[in-house]
Symmetry: C2
Subunit: 447 residues, 2 copies
């Protein structure tokens, strides 16, 4: 990916060239937020900030990038100075405020606020949206699954369903952040220090002449701390094979069929053989609804492996996040900015979000202007980057995960329900409302 | 990503260690296929083979990979020989047959068939699925949009909605393969030689004191071959601003509102100013249904920019592709393999797909055994890799795209309809059916 600067939409680059030519280099502020909740979500879990900050720290135009751009037809009239002077020296030099990863958030609260010379802030749009929206989608779904699993293990199994290799690694990160216990994705395990776990595939079982041989061969290599897959031919027959084998696997896995009924029958077979310590692990097209059903049915299941529903956030694969100019400096003074497109209006001004609590439970969020003083609420956006440099070292992912779970615990229980959740109150401060009205009255409508 | 070998599920690696320990190093054959069509699809467009083959050519275990694995608890009992001898020398040495990228395919036809020593073929599962399933999802959706656009331009705009940066680049590739005309993704443009295109963002318009100034400033830098965005404040007012400006943009863009009505009104304003050559380009939450509506309403629109619907295949973000062991060599003889899990049975044996034609139109596909002779049909799987090396140079993407469009043109029109499409007949050959019956009778059910 080299300097990564070409991983963006062409118009970010043409606009940069345009701002440069027009001399629009003064600071501008953009905010990244989600306009509406996607289907089946009553809250979102902010994620992807770490990758967004890495992007801003490292984005550069390499010589090869610049040579490529010089020959893109859209740039044919752009002056050499842009290619010879501006792009080679380009660094992101701005300030970033952001909601900490793992924080529950509600549209239209800003997740990220960038203040930088206009071309720098503009360039970042595509990459920041891709990083933050995707991981936020996955984390938001993972939180629901961990909730309904009610203490049972939830393992992220979605690498093969993810939108390419790298998406799988990032999905594993977001899922762990929001409370999943481990991932099957080894690269994610290494890169982010996430516990990795795995079982046995059908191919292992079918590679041997029979199940008894397959199960024994696995234990010969890995010992008793293995997970044996039962459903390759006939789940109950396989459970009886395990029971009669003398093996003591840590778990068995069910991947098909009526897992509620099968888990009860398998539990009986294992218990009768004294395998009380052998857990039952379920996988196969799981999501929060299915996990809730299995739990509600009293199935003796200790853990769930979830694939596509996590790694693609399958019921809401796109978040519709946006990154909008909210303030620009003109003649040295900040000017609040909004667009008025029908159904797509934006709110002007630099914002902050305050969360208020009643007896430890979050009661209301207020989106206001960053310079309002609102004593008493928790400020959700903090300064994470100053002059292109991080304001503090990244926290370990496991720490972010602990904080995420404690922040989720602050939400009203009714907001965390997966079916017909209550909506959480978010309002705009009086000062912000006044600015919105003023800006829409005075906005330039062409002319 | 180093050698990329850790970008996989943990169980692929533990099974490799297990096969190695158990001496199961003989050739095995896996097939990658989709079990059922996802919602809203009557056919799929195979894609992602190029990235899959690159993975197989380059996959290696680096020293760092091996050190990491040595300390994963699951490997604690694995013998040193696996880490010291087997992994450092690991190369994919197998044979691959595949359906050419851009080929219309129908479940459960194999898209890819891998024959290699069992641990090599096993390792590849996760990465091959991630590459092929994702790009196939995007290409399958793109083909529908290009069809209903009926000759109008379709531009892939989905980078910001994609599941991370790399997913956006791969989505742009798949969308172009299936017929999109260009992409906004600059990195994809460079890497895959796809035409890049872009317009103007709302931030450009709002960064200037008024629209007239913003439009003129853009033309000052880029000349007349620009696309001017009209909906920041009021679409018709902006169109009148363009008409009165003396600018001659190549197109104007509508991104919100009732685009059918607005496009007709904007056309009138442009025509009255003699701007007959200025096209109207539409974006904003488009998919194949919305494009079809706009076209059916006779809106004077020359092109569409599509985001999330392409880059996340939003209505079917996961394909449920699988990679299953279908044959293994035991004592020097090939043994066909199937699993019998309820609802998830697999078909044994190495397969080929034959497509038969009536008067230039595809009439039926037959999935049979690779060694059947079926004169007259087109064989969809060809050999693309031999002993870990490509059997031929990769074709340019533009050539694959042309072939894709001509192959799509061979499908019956009713199969390509977006609403209530006809289903295309796919049957299993008598020889394959006989093998399925025999294998399920004799499959080892534990014991």
């Amino acid at each position: 990916m080299r300097g990564g600067a070409l991983s963006t939409d062409l118009y970010e680059l043409t606009m940069m060239a345009g701002y440069h030519a027009a001399g629009l280099m003064a600071p501008a502020t953009f905010e990244l937020y989600v306009r509406n909740l996607p289907p089946n979500r009553a809250y979102l879990v902010a994620a992807g900030l770490e990758q967004a900050l890495q992007y801003l720290e490292h984005v550069r135009f390499t010589k090869e990038d610049i040579e490529y751009l010089r020959h893109v037809p859209a740039f044919s009239r752009v002056r050499d100075e842009f290619f010879d002077d501006y792009l080679p020296a380009f660094r992101f030099s701005g300030e970033v405020w952001a909601v900490e990863e793992g924080t529950p958030v509600f549209p239209p609260e800003p997740l990220l606020r960038v203040t930088a010379p206009l071309p720098e802030a503009q360039l970042a749009e595509t990459a920041l949206l891709a990083h933050v929206a995707f991981q936020t989608s996955v984390a938001s779904r993972a939180a629901r699954m961990v909730d309904v699993a009610a203490g049972r293990t939830v393992v992220e199994f979605g690498a093969r369903r993810a939108h390419g290799i790298e998406a799988g690694v990032l999905a594993a990160r977001a899922a762990f952040l929001a409370g999943c216990h481990s991932t099957s994705n080894v690269e994610a395990g290494r890169r982010f220090d996430i516990p990795v776990s795995g079982t046995m595939a059908h191919s292992w079982v079918t590679a041997f002449p029979d199940e008894r041989t397959a199960f024994r061969a696995f234990a010969d290599v890995f010992g008793d701390r293995t997970v044996i897959l039962l459903d390759t031919y006939d789940t109950l027959a396989a459970a009886r094979t395990v029971a009669a084998s003398g093996l003591r696997p840590s778990a068995v896995r069910l991947d098909s069929g009526d897992v509620v009924m099968l888990s009860k029958q398998v539990r009986g077979i294992l218990d009768a053989a004294g395998l009380h310590e052998t857990d039952i692990f379920v996988s196969g097209d799981l999501d929060e609804w299915r996990i809730a059903e299995i739990v509600a049915a009293g199935a003796p299941v200790g853990g769930f492996g979830v694939g596509a529903a996590l790694s693609t956030s399958s019921d809401a694969p796109s978040l519709g996040a946006i990154y909008k100019l909210v303030e620009i400096e003109r003649s040295g003074s900040p000017v609040p900015i909004a667009k008025l497109s029908p159904g797509k209006q934006t709110h002007p001004g630099r914002k902050q979000v305050w969360r208020t609590f009643h007896g430890g439970t979050a009661g209301e969020d207020v989106i206001g202007l960053a310079d309002e003083s609102r004593p008493g609420g928790r400020e959700l956006l903090t300064r994470v980057m100053v002059r292109g440099t991080r304001a503090r070292a990244p926290r370990p992912l496991a720490e972010l995960r602990d904080r995420c779970r404690s922040w989720l615990a602050e939400l009203p229980g009714a907001v965390r329900r997966i079916d017909v959740p209550a909506s959480y109150p978010v309002r705009l401060s009086a000062a912000l409302q006044a600015l919105i009205e003023e800006t829409s009255r005075t906005a330039s409508r062409g002319g």
